[in-house]
Protein backbone atom coordinates (compact mmCIF):
# COMPACT_ATOMS: atom_id res chain seq x y z
CA UNK A 1 0.00 0.00 0.00
CA UNK A 2 1.22 3.47 -0.84
CA UNK A 3 2.66 5.63 1.91
CA UNK A 4 1.24 9.05 2.75
CA UNK A 5 3.33 11.72 4.46
CA UNK A 6 1.63 13.47 7.36
CA UNK A 7 3.25 16.63 8.69
CA UNK A 8 2.99 16.72 12.48
CA UNK A 9 1.97 19.89 14.27
CA UNK A 10 3.13 19.61 17.87
CA UNK A 11 4.22 21.78 20.77
CA UNK A 12 7.30 20.32 22.47
CA UNK A 13 6.18 16.79 21.74
CA UNK A 14 2.45 17.27 22.44
CA UNK A 15 0.67 16.47 19.17
CA UNK A 16 -2.11 18.92 18.31
CA UNK A 17 -5.51 17.48 17.55
CA UNK A 18 -5.68 18.43 13.82
CA UNK A 19 -2.70 16.15 13.18
CA UNK A 20 -4.55 13.19 14.72
CA UNK A 21 -7.51 13.99 12.45
CA UNK A 22 -5.10 13.99 9.49
CA UNK A 23 -4.00 10.47 10.40
CA UNK A 24 -7.63 9.31 10.12
CA UNK A 25 -7.86 10.83 6.63
CA UNK A 26 -4.41 9.57 5.62
CA UNK A 27 -5.47 5.97 6.32
CA UNK A 28 -8.17 6.30 3.68
CA UNK A 29 -5.55 6.81 1.00
CA UNK A 30 -2.55 4.85 2.26
CA UNK A 31 -0.20 4.08 5.13
CA UNK A 32 0.57 7.18 7.19
CA UNK A 33 4.22 8.11 7.66
CA UNK A 34 4.47 10.98 10.12
CA UNK A 35 7.13 13.69 9.96
CA UNK A 36 7.83 15.39 13.31
CA UNK A 37 10.37 18.20 13.53
CA UNK A 38 12.03 20.25 16.22
CA UNK A 39 12.21 20.06 19.98
CA UNK A 40 10.27 17.07 21.31
CA UNK A 41 9.92 15.42 17.89
CA UNK A 42 10.65 11.91 19.19
CA UNK A 43 8.20 12.34 22.04
CA UNK A 44 5.35 12.50 19.53
CA UNK A 45 5.90 8.92 18.38
CA UNK A 46 3.73 7.17 20.98
CA UNK A 47 0.64 9.24 20.22
CA UNK A 48 1.22 9.04 16.47
CA UNK A 49 1.59 5.26 16.61
CA UNK A 50 -1.67 4.92 18.55
CA UNK A 51 -3.40 6.80 15.76
CA UNK A 52 -2.04 4.88 12.82
CA UNK A 53 1.44 6.11 11.94
CA UNK A 54 3.43 3.17 10.61
CA UNK A 55 6.64 5.16 10.75
CA UNK A 56 7.64 8.40 12.44
CA UNK A 57 10.46 10.35 10.81
CA UNK A 58 12.04 12.81 13.22
CA UNK A 59 14.62 15.57 13.00
CA UNK A 60 15.79 17.97 15.66
CA UNK A 61 17.95 21.00 14.91
CA UNK A 62 18.06 24.57 16.25
CA UNK A 63 17.20 25.86 12.77
CA UNK A 64 13.55 24.76 13.14
CA UNK A 65 12.98 27.24 15.96
CA UNK A 66 15.48 29.95 15.01
CA UNK A 67 14.33 30.59 11.43
CA UNK A 68 10.92 30.89 9.79
CA UNK A 69 9.29 28.09 7.78
CA UNK A 70 12.08 27.20 5.31
CA UNK A 71 14.03 24.76 7.53
CA UNK A 72 10.79 22.79 7.93
CA UNK A 73 10.29 22.82 4.17
CA UNK A 74 13.82 21.45 3.73
CA UNK A 75 13.02 18.64 6.18
CA UNK A 76 9.66 17.78 4.65
CA UNK A 77 11.32 17.70 1.24
CA UNK A 78 13.97 15.31 2.62
CA UNK A 79 11.15 13.08 3.91
CA UNK A 80 9.39 13.29 0.57
CA UNK A 81 12.53 12.18 -1.23
CA UNK A 82 13.15 9.37 1.24
CA UNK A 83 9.58 8.01 1.11
CA UNK A 84 8.21 8.81 -2.39
CA UNK A 85 4.69 9.11 -0.97
CA UNK A 86 1.37 9.02 -2.80
CA UNK A 87 0.34 12.28 -1.12
CA UNK A 88 1.52 14.81 1.46
CA UNK A 89 -0.98 16.00 4.09
CA UNK A 90 -0.40 19.07 6.25
CA UNK A 91 -2.67 20.72 8.85
CA UNK A 92 -4.22 23.97 7.56
CA UNK A 93 -2.56 26.26 10.09
CA UNK A 94 -1.03 29.48 8.78
CA UNK A 95 2.44 27.95 8.98
CA UNK A 96 1.26 24.55 7.70
CA UNK A 97 -0.09 26.11 4.54
CA UNK A 98 3.16 28.00 3.93
CA UNK A 99 5.24 24.85 4.42
CA UNK A 100 2.96 22.89 2.09
CA UNK A 101 3.03 25.61 -0.58
CA UNK A 102 6.80 25.84 -0.73
CA UNK A 103 7.16 22.07 -0.80
CA UNK A 104 4.69 21.92 -3.70
CA UNK A 105 6.81 24.35 -5.76
CA UNK A 106 9.95 22.33 -5.06
CA UNK A 107 8.47 18.98 -6.05
CA UNK A 108 6.52 20.41 -9.01
CA UNK A 109 3.14 19.58 -7.55
CA UNK A 110 -0.19 21.29 -7.22
CA UNK A 111 -1.65 22.22 -3.87
CA UNK A 112 -5.17 22.10 -2.47
CA UNK A 113 -5.70 24.02 0.77
CA UNK A 114 -8.34 23.96 3.50
CA UNK A 115 -9.89 20.62 2.61
CA UNK A 116 -12.79 19.70 4.91
CA UNK A 117 -12.86 16.06 3.79
CA UNK A 118 -10.65 13.68 1.83
CA UNK A 119 -11.33 10.43 0.00
CA UNK A 120 -9.45 8.09 -2.30
CA UNK A 121 -10.36 8.64 -5.96
CA UNK A 122 -9.47 6.99 -9.26
CA UNK A 123 -7.12 9.84 -10.12
CA UNK A 124 -5.75 10.32 -6.63
CA UNK A 125 -7.12 11.82 -3.42
CA UNK A 126 -10.24 13.95 -3.80
CA UNK A 127 -10.55 16.91 -1.45
CA UNK A 128 -13.81 18.54 -0.48
CA UNK A 129 -13.62 22.29 0.09
CA UNK A 130 -16.18 24.76 1.31
CA UNK A 131 -15.94 28.08 -0.57
CA UNK A 132 -17.52 31.51 -0.90
CA UNK A 133 -18.62 31.76 2.71
CA UNK A 134 -19.64 28.08 2.58
CA UNK A 135 -22.24 28.75 -0.09
CA UNK A 136 -20.59 26.17 -2.36
CA UNK A 137 -18.90 22.82 -1.86
CA UNK A 138 -16.22 21.83 -4.37
CA UNK A 139 -14.44 18.56 -5.04
CA UNK A 140 -10.87 19.12 -6.18
CA UNK A 141 -7.73 17.14 -6.77
CA UNK A 142 -4.13 17.78 -7.62
CA UNK A 143 -3.59 17.00 -11.30
CA UNK A 144 0.18 17.52 -11.53
CA UNK A 145 2.79 15.88 -9.34
CA UNK A 146 2.26 14.34 -5.90
CA UNK A 147 -0.85 15.77 -4.23
CA UNK A 148 -0.04 18.25 -1.46
CA UNK A 149 -3.19 18.88 0.55
CA UNK A 150 -3.81 20.93 3.67
CA UNK A 151 -6.78 19.99 5.85
CA UNK A 152 -8.79 22.17 8.21
CA UNK A 153 -9.30 21.24 11.87
CA UNK A 154 -12.46 19.29 12.75
CA UNK A 155 -12.57 17.65 9.30
CA UNK A 156 -12.40 14.06 10.53
CA UNK A 157 -12.85 12.14 13.75
CA UNK A 158 -9.79 11.22 15.79
CA UNK A 159 -9.67 7.41 15.73
CA UNK A 160 -7.38 5.04 17.56
CA UNK A 161 -5.69 2.67 15.09
CA UNK A 162 -2.55 1.21 16.63
CA UNK A 163 0.37 0.87 14.23
CA UNK A 164 4.10 0.26 14.51
CA UNK A 165 5.13 3.92 14.67
CA UNK A 166 8.78 3.03 14.29
CA UNK A 167 10.93 6.09 14.96
CA UNK A 168 13.56 6.81 12.31
CA UNK A 169 15.96 9.75 12.26
CA UNK A 170 15.49 11.88 9.17
CA UNK A 171 18.65 13.27 7.66
CA UNK A 172 18.19 16.91 6.63
CA UNK A 173 20.62 19.23 4.90
CA UNK A 174 19.43 22.80 5.08
CA UNK A 175 19.16 24.93 1.95
CA UNK A 176 20.81 28.31 1.43
CA UNK A 177 17.39 29.92 2.05
CA UNK A 178 16.88 28.16 5.39
CA UNK A 179 18.45 30.94 7.45
CA UNK A 180 16.88 33.80 5.49
CA UNK A 181 14.29 34.87 8.03
CA UNK A 182 15.52 34.99 11.60
CA UNK A 183 13.15 34.58 14.53
CA UNK A 184 14.66 37.25 16.78
CA UNK A 185 12.35 36.57 19.72
CA UNK A 186 9.30 34.49 20.55
CA UNK A 187 6.74 35.18 23.25
CA UNK A 188 4.34 32.27 23.83
CA UNK A 189 0.72 33.29 23.82
CA UNK A 190 -0.73 33.34 27.29
CA UNK A 191 -2.97 30.34 27.65
CA UNK A 192 -6.58 31.15 28.45
CA UNK A 193 -7.08 27.60 29.66
CA UNK A 194 -9.75 27.26 26.97
CA UNK A 195 -9.47 25.15 23.81
CA UNK A 196 -7.81 26.70 20.76
CA UNK A 197 -10.43 28.50 18.69
CA UNK A 198 -9.92 26.75 15.37
CA UNK A 199 -9.74 23.31 16.96
CA UNK A 200 -12.57 23.58 19.49
CA UNK A 201 -15.62 21.34 19.24
CA UNK A 202 -17.78 24.15 20.65
CA UNK A 203 -17.31 27.88 20.09
CA UNK A 204 -19.22 30.66 21.87
CA UNK A 205 -18.82 34.06 20.21
CA UNK A 206 -19.74 37.58 21.21
CA UNK A 207 -20.44 40.57 19.01
CA UNK A 208 -21.48 44.18 19.09
CA UNK A 209 -24.47 43.30 21.30
CA UNK A 210 -22.13 42.34 24.14
CA UNK A 211 -21.56 46.07 24.51
CA UNK A 212 -18.17 46.20 26.23
CA UNK A 213 -15.00 44.34 27.18
CA UNK A 214 -16.12 43.69 30.75
CA UNK A 215 -19.39 42.15 29.52
CA UNK A 216 -17.47 39.38 27.74
CA UNK A 217 -17.36 37.69 31.14
CA UNK A 218 -20.93 36.56 30.39
CA UNK A 219 -19.82 34.98 27.12
CA UNK A 220 -16.79 33.39 28.79
CA UNK A 221 -18.91 31.91 31.58
CA UNK A 222 -21.14 30.21 29.01
CA UNK A 223 -18.08 28.96 27.13
CA UNK A 224 -16.57 27.54 30.31
CA UNK A 225 -19.80 25.73 31.21
CA UNK A 226 -19.54 23.92 27.86
CA UNK A 227 -15.74 23.54 27.70
CA UNK A 228 -15.83 25.81 24.65
CA UNK A 229 -13.50 28.31 23.00
CA UNK A 230 -14.45 31.99 22.93
CA UNK A 231 -14.68 33.89 19.66
CA UNK A 232 -15.59 37.45 18.76
CA UNK A 233 -16.98 39.27 15.76
CA UNK A 234 -14.96 41.90 13.97
CA UNK A 235 -17.11 44.64 15.51
CA UNK A 236 -16.21 43.44 19.00
CA UNK A 237 -12.53 43.14 18.10
CA UNK A 238 -12.38 46.55 16.39
CA UNK A 239 -13.99 48.06 19.48
CA UNK A 240 -11.11 46.62 21.51
CA UNK A 241 -13.35 44.38 23.63
CA UNK A 242 -11.60 41.13 22.72
CA UNK A 243 -8.22 40.22 21.15
CA UNK A 244 -7.88 39.87 17.40
CA UNK A 245 -6.59 36.31 17.85
CA UNK A 246 -10.19 35.41 18.71
CA UNK A 247 -11.80 37.06 15.70
CA UNK A 248 -14.06 34.76 13.71
CA UNK A 249 -14.74 35.78 10.13
CA UNK A 250 -13.36 36.52 6.74
CA UNK A 251 -10.41 38.55 8.01
CA UNK A 252 -10.11 36.54 11.19
CA UNK A 253 -10.25 32.81 11.86
CA UNK A 254 -12.42 30.32 10.12
CA UNK A 255 -14.02 27.83 12.51
CA UNK A 256 -16.02 24.71 11.89
CA UNK A 257 -17.05 23.34 15.28
CA UNK A 258 -19.79 20.87 16.15
CA UNK A 259 -21.66 23.70 17.87
CA UNK A 260 -21.39 27.46 17.30
CA UNK A 261 -23.24 29.84 19.64
CA UNK A 262 -23.42 33.47 18.46
CA UNK A 263 -24.40 35.96 21.12
CA UNK A 264 -25.12 39.56 20.20
CA UNK A 265 -23.89 38.98 16.66
CA UNK A 266 -26.04 40.21 13.77
CA UNK A 267 -24.34 37.95 11.20
CA UNK A 268 -22.78 40.19 8.55
CA UNK A 269 -21.47 38.28 5.52
CA UNK A 270 -17.90 38.75 6.76
CA UNK A 271 -18.74 36.93 9.98
CA UNK A 272 -20.77 34.22 8.29
CA UNK A 273 -17.76 33.48 6.05
CA UNK A 274 -15.88 32.32 9.12
CA UNK A 275 -18.46 30.12 10.83
CA UNK A 276 -21.03 28.94 8.33
CA UNK A 277 -19.67 25.39 8.14
CA UNK A 278 -20.35 24.86 11.84
CA UNK A 279 -22.47 21.72 12.25
CA UNK A 280 -25.06 23.18 14.62
CA UNK A 281 -25.60 26.94 14.84
CA UNK A 282 -27.36 28.74 17.67
CA UNK A 283 -27.90 32.50 18.02
CA UNK A 284 -29.11 34.80 20.74
CA UNK A 285 -29.92 38.32 19.60
CA UNK A 286 -32.36 41.09 20.50
CA UNK A 287 -33.06 41.88 16.85
CA UNK A 288 -35.48 39.35 15.35
CA UNK A 289 -34.47 40.59 11.88
CA UNK A 290 -30.73 39.86 12.34
CA UNK A 291 -29.40 37.86 9.34
CA UNK A 292 -27.78 35.33 11.70
CA UNK A 293 -31.25 33.87 12.32
CA UNK A 294 -31.33 32.71 8.66
CA UNK A 295 -28.52 30.28 9.50
CA UNK A 296 -29.54 28.92 12.84
CA UNK A 297 -30.77 25.55 13.95
CA UNK A 298 -32.06 27.27 17.06
CA UNK A 299 -32.41 30.95 17.76
CA UNK A 300 -33.54 32.95 20.76
CA UNK A 301 -34.81 36.47 20.18
CA UNK A 302 -34.03 38.16 23.44
CA UNK A 303 -31.60 40.07 25.64
CA UNK A 304 -28.36 38.11 25.83
CA UNK A 305 -27.80 39.36 29.38
CA UNK A 306 -31.00 37.56 30.40
CA UNK A 307 -30.75 34.49 28.18
CA UNK A 308 -27.05 33.65 28.42
CA UNK A 309 -26.73 33.59 32.24
CA UNK A 310 -29.90 31.50 32.47
CA UNK A 311 -28.51 29.11 29.85
CA UNK A 312 -25.18 28.90 31.71
CA UNK A 313 -26.94 28.11 35.00
CA UNK A 314 -29.13 25.49 33.35
CA UNK A 315 -26.10 23.81 31.75
CA UNK A 316 -24.33 23.69 35.12
CA UNK A 317 -27.45 22.24 36.75
CA UNK A 318 -27.86 19.61 34.05
CA UNK A 319 -24.20 18.67 34.24
CA UNK A 320 -24.60 18.41 37.99
Amino acid sequence: MAEVLVYVDHVDGAVRKPTLELLTLARRIGEPVAVALGSGAEATAGTLAEHGATRVLTAEAPEFADYLVVPKVDALQAAYEAVSPAAVLVPSSAEGKEIAARLAVRIGSGIVTDAVDLEAGEQGPVATQSVFAASFTTRSRVSKGTPVITVKPNSAPVEAAPAAGAVEALSVSFSAQATGTKVVSRVPRESTGRPELTEAAIVVSGGRGVGGAENFAVVEALADSLGAAVGASRAAVDAGWYPHSSQVGQTGKSVSPQLYIATGISGAIQHRAGMQTSKTIVAINKDAEAPIFDLVDYGVVGDLFEVVPQLTEEIKTRKG
Binding site: E98, G110, F132, A133, T138, Q310, E314, I315
Partner: protein
Protein backbone atom coordinates in the same frame (compact mmCIF):
# COMPACT_ATOMS: atom_id res chain seq x y z
CA UNK B 1 19.43 54.44 -3.42
CA UNK B 2 15.80 54.07 -4.25
CA UNK B 3 13.79 51.36 -2.46
CA UNK B 4 11.78 49.50 -5.08
CA UNK B 5 8.55 48.14 -3.61
CA UNK B 6 6.16 45.90 -5.56
CA UNK B 7 2.70 45.38 -4.07
CA UNK B 8 0.76 42.37 -5.38
CA UNK B 9 -2.99 42.94 -5.41
CA UNK B 10 -6.00 40.96 -6.55
CA UNK B 11 -9.27 41.98 -8.14
CA UNK B 12 -11.94 39.82 -6.50
CA UNK B 13 -15.71 39.38 -6.70
CA UNK B 14 -17.42 41.49 -4.03
CA UNK B 15 -18.07 39.17 -1.07
CA UNK B 16 -21.35 40.90 -0.35
CA UNK B 17 -22.58 39.89 -3.83
CA UNK B 18 -24.00 36.53 -4.86
CA UNK B 19 -20.83 34.78 -6.02
CA UNK B 20 -21.02 31.88 -8.48
CA UNK B 21 -19.03 29.53 -10.67
CA UNK B 22 -19.05 29.55 -14.48
CA UNK B 23 -19.76 26.43 -16.57
CA UNK B 24 -16.08 25.48 -16.72
CA UNK B 25 -16.07 25.55 -12.86
CA UNK B 26 -13.87 28.63 -12.70
CA UNK B 27 -15.03 31.61 -10.65
CA UNK B 28 -17.65 33.55 -12.60
CA UNK B 29 -16.09 37.03 -12.68
CA UNK B 30 -18.85 38.58 -14.78
CA UNK B 31 -21.54 37.60 -12.33
CA UNK B 32 -20.69 39.99 -9.51
CA UNK B 33 -18.92 43.36 -9.44
CA UNK B 34 -15.26 43.15 -8.58
CA UNK B 35 -13.08 45.28 -6.37
CA UNK B 36 -9.61 45.45 -4.83
CA UNK B 37 -9.44 42.64 -2.26
CA UNK B 38 -9.93 44.26 1.14
CA UNK B 39 -6.94 42.45 2.58
CA UNK B 40 -4.71 43.90 -0.16
CA UNK B 41 -5.60 47.43 0.93
CA UNK B 42 -3.58 46.73 4.07
CA UNK B 43 -0.62 45.76 1.86
CA UNK B 44 -0.86 49.01 -0.10
CA UNK B 45 -1.11 50.96 3.15
CA UNK B 46 2.01 49.36 4.65
CA UNK B 47 3.92 49.89 1.39
CA UNK B 48 2.98 53.58 1.52
CA UNK B 49 4.14 53.85 5.12
CA UNK B 50 7.42 52.08 4.37
CA UNK B 51 7.96 54.40 1.39
CA UNK B 52 7.28 57.44 3.60
CA UNK B 53 10.02 56.32 5.99
CA UNK B 54 12.53 55.68 3.20
CA UNK B 55 14.77 58.38 1.71
CA UNK B 56 13.61 57.52 -1.73
CA UNK B 57 11.13 54.83 -2.71
CA UNK B 58 8.96 53.83 -5.63
CA UNK B 59 5.84 51.70 -5.30
CA UNK B 60 4.68 49.57 -8.20
CA UNK B 61 1.32 47.85 -7.81
CA UNK B 62 0.99 44.59 -9.74
CA UNK B 63 -1.95 42.41 -10.65
CA UNK B 64 -2.79 39.47 -12.89
CA UNK B 65 -6.31 39.41 -14.28
CA UNK B 66 -8.72 40.44 -17.00
CA UNK B 67 -9.32 44.01 -18.21
CA UNK B 68 -11.57 44.84 -15.24
CA UNK B 69 -8.68 44.12 -12.85
CA UNK B 70 -7.36 47.56 -13.78
CA UNK B 71 -9.95 48.86 -11.29
CA UNK B 72 -7.93 47.28 -8.48
CA UNK B 73 -4.77 48.94 -9.78
CA UNK B 74 -6.52 52.34 -10.02
CA UNK B 75 -7.69 52.05 -6.44
CA UNK B 76 -4.12 51.35 -5.28
CA UNK B 77 -2.77 54.20 -7.41
CA UNK B 78 -5.36 56.56 -5.96
CA UNK B 79 -4.22 55.55 -2.47
CA UNK B 80 -0.72 56.69 -3.47
CA UNK B 81 1.20 53.97 -5.36
CA UNK B 82 3.42 55.41 -8.12
CA UNK B 83 2.83 53.10 -11.06
CA UNK B 84 1.13 49.89 -12.03
CA UNK B 85 1.79 46.70 -13.96
CA UNK B 86 -1.13 44.71 -15.34
CA UNK B 87 -0.54 41.18 -16.60
CA UNK B 88 -3.37 40.29 -18.93
CA UNK B 89 -3.61 37.44 -21.41
CA UNK B 90 -6.54 35.35 -22.66
CA UNK B 91 -4.49 32.23 -21.98
CA UNK B 92 -4.51 33.05 -18.25
CA UNK B 93 -8.18 32.12 -17.81
CA UNK B 94 -8.48 29.39 -15.19
CA UNK B 95 -4.92 29.74 -13.84
CA UNK B 96 -4.58 28.31 -10.32
CA UNK B 97 -2.41 29.57 -7.48
CA UNK B 98 0.72 27.76 -8.73
CA UNK B 99 0.39 29.38 -12.15
CA UNK B 100 -0.46 32.76 -10.66
CA UNK B 101 2.62 32.65 -8.46
CA UNK B 102 4.73 31.83 -11.52
CA UNK B 103 3.33 34.78 -13.48
CA UNK B 104 3.70 37.17 -10.54
CA UNK B 105 7.27 36.05 -9.85
CA UNK B 106 8.29 36.65 -13.49
CA UNK B 107 6.56 40.04 -13.52
CA UNK B 108 8.23 41.02 -10.23
CA UNK B 109 11.65 40.06 -11.59
CA UNK B 110 11.02 41.99 -14.79
CA UNK B 111 9.87 45.08 -12.84
CA UNK B 112 12.81 44.93 -10.43
CA UNK B 113 12.30 44.94 -6.66
CA UNK B 114 13.81 45.18 -3.22
CA UNK B 115 10.62 44.42 -1.33
CA UNK B 116 7.42 42.62 -2.31
CA UNK B 117 4.36 43.33 -0.16
CA UNK B 118 1.23 41.15 -0.23
CA UNK B 119 -1.99 40.89 1.73
CA UNK B 120 -2.34 37.85 4.01
CA UNK B 121 -4.83 36.13 1.65
CA UNK B 122 -7.29 36.99 -1.07
CA UNK B 123 -10.90 37.36 0.00
CA UNK B 124 -12.11 34.99 -2.72
CA UNK B 125 -9.83 31.93 -2.72
CA UNK B 126 -8.63 32.67 0.85
CA UNK B 127 -5.73 30.23 0.47
CA UNK B 128 -3.08 32.46 2.02
CA UNK B 129 -0.20 30.66 0.32
CA UNK B 130 0.77 33.10 -2.42
CA UNK B 131 3.37 35.10 -0.42
CA UNK B 132 5.20 31.89 0.53
CA UNK B 133 5.03 30.67 -3.08
CA UNK B 134 6.52 33.96 -4.31
CA UNK B 135 9.35 33.78 -1.78
CA UNK B 136 10.11 30.23 -2.86
CA UNK B 137 10.06 31.11 -6.55
CA UNK B 138 12.09 34.31 -6.12
CA UNK B 139 14.55 32.61 -3.76
CA UNK B 140 14.30 35.39 -1.16
CA UNK B 141 13.27 35.40 2.52
CA UNK B 142 9.58 35.34 3.44
CA UNK B 143 8.56 37.58 6.30
CA UNK B 144 4.87 36.80 6.38
CA UNK B 145 1.65 37.42 8.32
CA UNK B 146 3.00 40.56 9.94
CA UNK B 147 0.89 42.75 12.16
CA UNK B 148 3.72 45.30 12.28
CA UNK B 149 6.38 45.93 9.66
CA UNK B 150 9.27 48.33 9.14
CA UNK B 151 12.29 48.61 6.85
CA UNK B 152 15.59 50.14 7.85
CA UNK B 153 19.08 49.91 6.36
CA UNK B 154 18.15 47.11 4.00
CA UNK B 155 16.55 44.99 6.72
CA UNK B 156 12.84 44.25 7.07
CA UNK B 157 11.53 43.63 10.57
CA UNK B 158 8.08 42.62 11.69
CA UNK B 159 5.86 40.93 14.25
CA UNK B 160 4.05 37.70 13.42
CA UNK B 161 1.21 36.73 15.78
CA UNK B 162 0.68 32.99 15.49
CA UNK B 163 -1.63 30.50 17.18
CA UNK B 164 0.81 29.72 19.93
CA UNK B 165 3.32 32.56 19.98
CA UNK B 166 4.11 36.07 18.87
CA UNK B 167 7.41 36.29 17.01
CA UNK B 168 9.73 39.14 16.02
CA UNK B 169 11.18 38.41 12.59
CA UNK B 170 14.03 39.91 10.63
CA UNK B 171 15.42 39.44 7.12
CA UNK B 172 17.69 41.22 4.69
CA UNK B 173 16.25 42.66 1.49
CA UNK B 174 15.23 41.61 -1.06
CA UNK B 175 12.32 39.88 0.65
CA UNK B 176 8.63 39.04 0.39
CA UNK B 177 6.37 40.38 3.11
CA UNK B 178 2.70 39.77 3.83
CA UNK B 179 0.65 41.83 6.25
CA UNK B 180 -2.52 41.06 8.19
CA UNK B 181 -5.58 43.19 8.79
CA UNK B 182 -4.02 44.14 12.13
CA UNK B 183 -1.18 46.05 10.45
CA UNK B 184 -3.09 49.32 10.38
CA UNK B 185 -6.24 50.74 8.86
CA UNK B 186 -5.89 51.47 5.14
CA UNK B 187 -6.31 55.09 4.05
CA UNK B 188 -9.15 56.25 1.83
CA UNK B 189 -8.10 57.74 -1.50
CA UNK B 190 -8.42 61.54 -1.48
CA UNK B 191 -10.06 63.38 -4.38
CA UNK B 192 -6.58 64.60 -5.31
CA UNK B 193 -5.33 61.01 -5.19
CA UNK B 194 -8.12 59.83 -7.44
CA UNK B 195 -7.41 62.57 -9.99
CA UNK B 196 -3.64 61.92 -9.84
CA UNK B 197 -4.17 58.18 -10.35
CA UNK B 198 -5.66 58.81 -13.79
CA UNK B 199 -2.31 60.15 -14.99
CA UNK B 200 -0.13 57.46 -13.46
CA UNK B 201 1.38 54.91 -15.84
CA UNK B 202 -0.16 51.42 -16.14
CA UNK B 203 2.11 49.04 -18.03
CA UNK B 204 0.48 46.03 -19.69
CA UNK B 205 2.32 42.76 -20.01
CA UNK B 206 1.28 39.48 -21.61
CA UNK B 207 2.65 35.96 -21.33
CA UNK B 208 5.17 36.43 -24.15
CA UNK B 209 6.59 39.52 -22.37
CA UNK B 210 7.22 37.25 -19.38
CA UNK B 211 8.51 34.33 -21.46
CA UNK B 212 5.85 32.01 -20.11
CA UNK B 213 4.35 29.36 -22.38
CA UNK B 214 0.55 29.23 -22.60
CA UNK B 215 0.51 25.58 -21.45
CA UNK B 216 2.23 26.51 -18.15
CA UNK B 217 -0.87 28.45 -17.07
CA UNK B 218 -4.62 28.59 -17.67
CA UNK B 219 -7.19 25.92 -17.01
CA UNK B 220 -5.33 23.29 -19.07
CA UNK B 221 -2.02 24.01 -17.42
CA UNK B 222 -3.41 24.15 -13.88
CA UNK B 223 -1.78 21.98 -11.20
CA UNK B 224 -5.20 21.28 -9.70
CA UNK B 225 -8.58 20.30 -11.12
CA UNK B 226 -12.04 21.05 -9.81
CA UNK B 227 -14.28 18.09 -10.63
CA UNK B 228 -17.52 19.25 -9.06
CA UNK B 229 -19.12 22.35 -7.62
CA UNK B 230 -22.32 21.99 -5.65
CA UNK B 231 -24.32 24.88 -4.28
CA UNK B 232 -24.92 24.25 -0.64
CA UNK B 233 -28.61 23.69 -0.03
CA UNK B 234 -30.24 26.49 1.90
CA UNK B 235 -30.36 25.54 5.55
CA UNK B 236 -33.71 24.33 6.61
CA UNK B 237 -35.40 26.90 8.75
CA UNK B 238 -34.42 26.49 12.37
CA UNK B 239 -36.52 26.89 15.46
CA UNK B 240 -36.72 30.48 16.61
CA UNK B 241 -38.25 31.35 19.95
CA UNK B 242 -38.86 34.68 21.60
CA UNK B 243 -37.52 34.91 25.12
CA UNK B 244 -40.45 35.21 27.51
CA UNK B 245 -38.29 34.57 30.54
CA UNK B 246 -37.46 30.91 29.84
CA UNK B 247 -35.36 31.38 26.66
CA UNK B 248 -32.14 30.19 28.28
CA UNK B 249 -33.77 27.05 29.68
CA UNK B 250 -35.44 26.29 26.37
CA UNK B 251 -32.10 26.63 24.61
CA UNK B 252 -30.49 24.34 27.19
CA UNK B 253 -33.16 21.73 26.41
CA UNK B 254 -32.31 22.00 22.70
CA UNK B 255 -28.59 21.59 23.43
CA UNK B 256 -29.31 18.59 25.64
CA UNK B 257 -31.45 17.02 22.93
CA UNK B 258 -28.50 17.42 20.52
CA UNK B 259 -26.24 15.88 23.20
CA UNK B 260 -24.06 18.96 23.71
CA UNK B 261 -24.81 18.88 27.44
Amino acid sequence: MSLRIVVCVKYVPDATGDRHFAEDLTVDRDDVDGLLSELDEYAVEQALQIADEADDAEITVLTVGPEDAKDALRKALSMGADKAVHVEDDDLHGTDVMGTSLVLAKAIEKTGYDLVVCGMASTDGTMGVLPALLAERLGVPQVTLLSEVSVEDGVVKGRRDGDTASEQLEASLPAVVSVTDQSGEARYPSFKGIMAAKKKPVESLDLSDLEIEADEVGLEGAWTAVDAVVERPARTAGTIVKDEGEGGKQLAAFLAERKFI
